[in-house]
Every structure is written in C-alpha cells, then in structure tokens.
Symmetry: C2
C-alpha cells in the first residue's frame, strides 16, 4: 500500500519540519552578522541536537555541505524558505480575541512564515469593529456567514475550551479544512479536517521531566 507508506514517511519527517523555523531564525542571525558558512557541529550545538541529526534535517532542503567548509548560509536560508513555502501566504481567521489571541495577532514570527490573519472574531460585541493591529474584529454571531463568504485555509482557535467545539462545528460546516487549536479541548472533526492542538501543558510536562521533577526511574 504505497499511500500508507507515504503517510508513515511524512509523519517520520515531522520532527524535522518542526525544527526548520528554529534553523531559519538561527541562520538569519548568522547571516546578519556577516557569516558565510556554518558547520553542522555549530548548528548541532545551538539546536541542542546531534550533528548527524542536523545533517539529516538539512537533507530536506537538498542543500549539501562541503567538508571542512560547511554549509553556505545563504543557500540554506533560501532552501528552508522554499521548503516551508514562504513565498505563498496562508490566509486564516482567528477566533477569540482575548490576551492569547491578541498576542497571536501581533506575532511577527508567524507573519514571517506566511501567515496572514484576514479577520478575527470575538463573542464580546464591544470588541467588534476594532482593528488589532490591522486585522478587523467581528462579532462572533457573524462567524458562520463570513466563514462561508471568505475562503481561508485555516482557523486559529483561541476561545475558552468550553466554546471550542461549538466554534469548530460552525467552521467545519463552512468548509474550513485546518484548525489550529490553542484551547485545551480535544476537538471532534471529520476525517478530512486537520485539527492541530498546540498545548502549552505538553511543554510544561516535558520541562518537568527535563528538570527532574519526575523520578527518572519511571522513564527507564
């Protein structure tokens, strides 16, 4: 079953994809400092992974390093930008303009990766009509109507967890295929919809392990 094989390979590459934006930030820093070449050993140290993994990660960009010289920084930047499709924008709605949602609206790093939030929604009618920072905010009651009229690839969910499924159902009914879920709710979506959860709690759990709060014996 080739489709199965492909799927497995894809998932296998996700940790690499996850690291690419960090490589990009690091490489752009070096580039601005006037550096031309970088070794996998240096990247490994800064990324806190093994050099062999750096070389494997960078294979995705199809840029090769030269022994004793390293990788050309400009080529790597271009390679990663191309791979991540930074030339095209990804249009999105943001739902829930609370503190966290607002921080996403102001997040330049995401804009640099091609994210363009075209409209935001909040159930507080007081927030409707505002521009945060340049994104128009609409009353939540208009979500169904506007998500049918405006074609976006992604919705960013920053609502309270108890509202998450209801908002998701409205979005899915209007044909949205991607949901970036920043709530703690586990969403139920049809098979053809991608719902990705970004869970700060996960990060804290991993950090607890690294800080040895958790008995290492339990991890052996």
């Amino acid at each position: 079953m080739p489709s199965m094989k492909r799927r497995v390979l894809k998932i296998d590459k996700l940790p690499t994809v996850r690291r690419l934006p960090a490589y990009l930030t690091l490489l752009r820093e070096l580039y601005l400092k006037g550096e031309q070449f970088v070794s996998s050993a240096f990247l490994a140290e800064r990324m806190e992974i093994e050099p062999i993994l750096v070389r494997k990660d960078l294979e995705l960009t199809r840029i090769n390093g030269t022994p004793r010289i390293g990788y050309c920084i400009g080529d790597l930047i271009k390679g990663i930008e191309d791979f991540l499709g930074l030339g095209e924008t990804l249009d999105a709605f943001l739902v829930g303009v609370g503190q966290f949602g607002t921080s996403i609206l102001y997040n330049r790093e995401l804009t640099n990766l091609g994210l363009r939030i075209v409209a935001a929604f909040d159930k507080d009618p007081q927030k409707a009509g505002a521009l945060v920072p340049e994104v128009p905010v609409f009353d939540m009651v208009r979500l169904a109507e506007l998500s049918q009229r405006i074609d976006v690839g992604l919705a960013i969910l920053c609502v309270p967890p108890e509202d998450a499924q209801e908002v998701t159902d409205i979005l899915v009914a209007s044909g949205i295929k991607g949901i970036w879920n920043f709530t703690s709710a586990n969403l139920v979506v049809p098979e053809d919809v991608i719902a990705q959860k970004e869970d700060l709690a996960s990060g804290l759990a991993v950090l607890s392990v690294k800080l040895n709060r958790i008995q290492p014996a339990l991890l052996d």
Copy 2:
C-alpha cells in the same frame, strides 16, 4: 556507558510525556460525564494516534487495562497525575508582561499542572506594582536582586527576542536552572541549565505540511 543509555531512553519517552496532559484532559472529561472505563481504541481515536501507541503511552503510568473492559478511568487519572508530579508545585518567575505573558499568567491549565508563578517582571515601570491576576509585577531592574533572593526552579521568558539573552544571563547568574523560552531567540546557556523553546512557528510549519502546502514529494 549506562548514563548515555539512560539519556537516550529518556528522550525516547518525551513524545509520550508530551501527550500525557492531553490524556489527562480527555480522561477528566469522561470522568465528569460519569464514564468508568475507556478502551485504548477510543483513546486512540480522540488522540489521533494508533491504539498500540496508546497502550505504550499508558505503560508509563503502570496502570493495566483489562481485555474487553478497558482501563479504569479513575486509576488512569490518578496514574498520570502521580507521574506528572501534580502534588508538588513548580515555582516560577515570568519575565515580560505583554499580551502573551499576561495570557500565561491567566492560564489555568498550567496552574492545574502545578505551575505557580510567584512574581512577574516587566521593563515598563508603569506595570510595576500591579497584580496580574494575583501575581505581583516588578520593574525589570529588580530582576537580578529578586532572583537571588527568591528560590524558583523556572523562569518563563515572554520578552521581545532581542532582550531574551540579556534576561537569560541575569537569571543564570542568579542560579536559575530552568528557562521556558517563548521568544524566537536561540539562547546560549551553561550545560547545567535547561532552556526549552516553545516555538509557535514550529507548530505552523508542521501544520503547513499537514495542510499540504508543502509538496508531499519533498517529504518522501
């Protein structure tokens, strides 16, 4: 080298640890609905992973399922809570009370995992003296002094990326061993300090792949 082996095993378990808070949220939901048992197949569907992986994940809690009945939900909740050390609090500083930092101060999910932010810092002196929501905010100039006086295990970095290294150096000099980095900066820290980066950009890169923005051929 046994220490090397242990380290590899630990890292191998991190994806499981990362999923534990999501299991916990899901199991608590089921428990509140009055459910008593849950199958690995059901958990697999809701967690969007394979049932075999669910069974492997839950081995960490040392709770066993019963064939045809499943896992006792109450036992699993207790098992995960114990594993994550939810009985003990993890005291932390938060540095940078902007929109994102404020959203962390209000995040109940993190509190439920044992995080207790004891003080926050901001370079805007106007913010000093406030309580957000019950956490005292201090002027950044007091960071060096207070981080030496108050013993915390973790600092949560929500400052602009250009300030991140300077703040880190102050924290490290005062003996902090854990830094949760929500900035896009790659931090330089001594070997005995854990700096974990939570990168929203990583999440967007992975989402782009899942949404097929990136040519699947490049991932094969």
